[in-house]
């Protein structure tokens, strides 16, 4: 297994295919109008949820880095958080020896949603009909059967995304806790989607800056707009490099996996939020309207940010090298 970022032809093909699938089934225009639960069928058919699982467990055997790059694409299309919940839930099932459960999840027969804690309760994001939910508790992830749990639809900040309140969860079972690698993987995939949001916002802004004219020239020829765009590019470069680093470390279970993931989780939300902010600003009046896509990136960044979780980063030992044998 290699972690070569100089993509192979195979890797290029699968990512091209993913792009085409997303363009067909998940255009941003679907997010206009009332929020509905997103159909994940095209993603299931693509094998997105078992992408990096071992072939022995019904997976496609790609690396975690490959899967992360897939989620960057999903992030660009502002896919429901349910698409993050499924591959993590499948891993938690496998962590606890529930192979059958894992297969049902990756094949879309059992639906999963992501949940987050608030000060007063729990929110369920994305698919209100889900029978399973994943939630981050005390630095790890749990998979919980929520089929018997009542849920109330709420008005969401991100109008395109349904959201539900849950008063309380059933007592956790002992065999539903994620291994450390799975919890880190969750942070990798959320960060990958945040990178996708940041990239999407950058591209939308840059394209607009090239065509929109003011004072007789494209606004992208003004230094202030140029520098805004450069800042977006700087954010993307920083985040994507750290994503590579962390995805490789977690995929290989290197000793710096926790450090690299924590650094990534600290950077990712801010880059996405900042790029979305700049994207709105560059669009001017239209960027503030519901008609443009700019605000959708901002709202998705807020959603993903709540899913990422933070650790006490300063408590982790610092790596100076991927392999350390301080003899």
């Amino acid at each position: 297994m290699s972690f070569d970022l100089n993509q192979t032809e195979d890797q290029r093909q699968i990512h091209d295919a993913c792009r085409a699938m997303l363009a067909e089934h998940y255009p941003l225009s679907r997010l206009r109008g009332p929020a509905t639960a997103e159909s994940l069928a095209p993603l299931v058919a693509f094998g997105a949820f078992a992408f990096a699982l071992p072939e022995a467990h019904g997976g496609a055997g790609f690396t975690l880095l490959d899967e992360a790059l897939l989620h960057v694409q999903l992030g660009r299309h502002l896919i429901s958080p349910a698409a993050l919940a499924a591959p993590i839930a499948a891993r938690i099932a496998l962590d606890n020896g529930q192979l059958e459960q894992a297969v049902k999840i990756t094949e879309g027969q059992t639906s999963v949603s992501a949940m987050v804690k608030t000060k007063n309760g729990i929110l369920l994001l994305g698919n209100g009909a889900a029978v399973l939910g994943i939630i981050r508790q005390h630095d790890t992830m749990q998979l919980i059967d929520i089929s018997q749990v009542n849920r109330d639809r709420k008005a969401a900040m991100a109008q395109g995304q349904p959201i539900f309140a849950i008063a309380s969860l059933p007592a956790p079972k002992s065999n539903n806790v994620a291994k450390a690698q799975t919890s880190q993987t969750a942070q990798i995939l959320v960060s990958a989607q945040l990178l996708g949001v940041a990239e999407g916002a950058r591209d939308l802004a840059v394209e607009y800056a090239k065509i929109r004219e003011q004072f007789g020239r494209p606004i992208g020829s003004f230094q202030a707009i140029k520098h805004h765009c450069a800042n977006m590019a700087l954010g993307v470069e920083k985040l994507s490099a750290q994503l590579d680093m962390a995805a490789i470390a977690v995929g290989k279970q290197s000793e710096d996996a926790a450090f690299q993931t924590a650094a990534l989780a600290r950077i990712a939300p801010n880059v996405a939020l900042e790029n979305a902010r700049i994207c709105i600003q560059i669009h001017g009046g239209i960027g503030f309207s519901a008609e443009a896509d700019a605000h959708l990136f901002l709202k998705q960044a807020h959603v993903l940010r709540q899913l990422i979780g933070q650790t006490d980063f300063l408590a982790l030992p610092a790596p100076m090298a991927p392999t350390r044998e301080d003899t």
Binding site: G284, G285, Q306
Partner: protein
């Protein structure tokens, strides 16, 4: 700047406070914020109440029905207004009271003044602005909507955008190109447009907070009497500029002071421990809001300065408002994903650095008009 509060001014403060306390409660600022006919009704009823008690047009000269408050009293009124959490001054009466009215006072004919000013003061007529066009967001001088002179009429064709409350308004302050072939600032006229005229179509635009404050307005052979031109024909740019001097005495003062109240609410609700990152952030915001208040007072109270000094306050306000509302939703945790007043205000705050001149344009103005840096070469 004179911040000495005279005995008499203090009794003025107590009078304002008492009136606000006795008369608030019936109105809901939430209603007003969310737009629509209900909002118009709430806003105009509140204004009518203010008017009846002598609290409308606080900065207008007395001879035109205003209160003619001294700068110091203007500040006191808006301090009390803000402290009482009275309805947001940025409702559908804002343009009439703070922009159209003052322009008519400065440049309008006697007929125009005697008809419109009382209606604005009492909340009987609502005004909207018709300056921006789709192609001229930050470049107002490039506007293209035309008014062709035919006998004693102007025949208007074109399109305006970002016209706040255009769907609720009775009149519009319309800036159009009346001299065919004229360039940039020349050849424009400032016209009173009756929004019920045939040929006008209003299409509300939903903003990213899910509310339709503003609208596009389309003009298809709209016939406006030449007598509705304010100031001289083709002299609209200068008419539009007359309110620049008045701007520092508008209800925008209330919005600036409101930020202090927002910060204090946040400090109270966050209960941050001393020394934490959050408490440091809140202390910074508190200091910045205090300084914005000081800037506001000084602008109102001090003579002199350039008309562009307003850009300093406008931009400071805009960026501080965004920081405050962002901090506010950061304190909410995952509850920020639900719709609610703080989330609403946060989303709305994105317009602050765009509407009325982007932050980039404001910085250009500060650099060129205040600091005297050379202009960019034209393309």
């Amino acid at each position: 700047m004179n911040l000495d509060i005279e005995i008499d001014d203090n009794s003025f403060r107590l009078r304002a406070r008492a009136w606000l306390r006795a008369n608030l409660g019936v109105t809901s600022s939430d209603n007003i914020r969310h737009g629509g006919q209900t909002a118009r009704k709430t806003a105009t009823q509140w204004l009518a109440k203010c008017h009846a008690a002598g609290w409308s047009g606080v900065a207008w000269p007395r001879e035109f029905g205003g209160q003619g408050l001294s700068p110091a009293r203007l500040i006191i009124w808006y301090e009390e207004y803000t402290r009482a959490r009275a309805p947001s001054a940025l409702d559908c009466t804002f343009v009439g009271l703070n922009h159209a009215g003052p322009t008519l006072i400065a440049c309008g004919s006697d007929t125009q003044k005697s008809f419109h000013l009382p209606r604005i003061l009492s909340g009987k007529s609502i005004w909207c602005q018709g300056f921006s066009e789709p192609g001229s967001g930050s470049d107002l001088a490039s506007l293209k909507t035309t008014g062709k002179v035919e006998d004693d009429m102007l025949v208007v064709n074109g399109q305006k955008i970002w016209s706040t409350c255009a769907d609720l308004a009775d009149y519009q302050e319309l800036l159009i190109r009346t001299e065919p072939g004229s360039k940039r600032h020349r050849g424009l006229s400032w016209v009173i447009c009756d929004m019920t005229l045939p040929g006008i179509t209003v299409r509300p635009i939903e903003n990213m907070a899910g509310v339709s404050h503003f609208a596009e307005v389309f003009y298809d052979d709209v016939r406006i009497p030449l007598s509705n031109v304010v100031g001289a024909l083709h002299d609209g740019w200068n008419v539009a500029m007359t309110t620049l001097g008045f701007e520092r005495k508008t209800a925008a003062i209330a919005l600036q002071l409101e930020l202090s109240v927002t910060v204090e609410d946040l400090i109270t609700s966050a209960q941050a421990q001393p020394g934490t990152a959050l408490s440091e952030q809140l202390a910074d915001l508190r200091a910045e809001a205090a300084a914005l208040r000081a800037m506001t007072y000084r602008a109102v109270l001090r003579d002199g300065g350039t008309p562009f000094d307003g850009s300093l306050i406008r931009l400071t306000f805009a960026e501080l408002a965004q920081r405050i509302h962002r901090t506010a939703i950061d304190t909410l945790g995952a509850e920020a994903l639900l719709d609610g007043p703080m989330v609403h205000d946060y989303l709305e705050s994105y317009s602050e650095t765009i509407a009325g001149g982007t932050a980039e344009i404001q910085r250009n103005i500060i650099a060129e008009r205040i600091l005297g840096l050379p202009r960019e070469p034209r393309a």
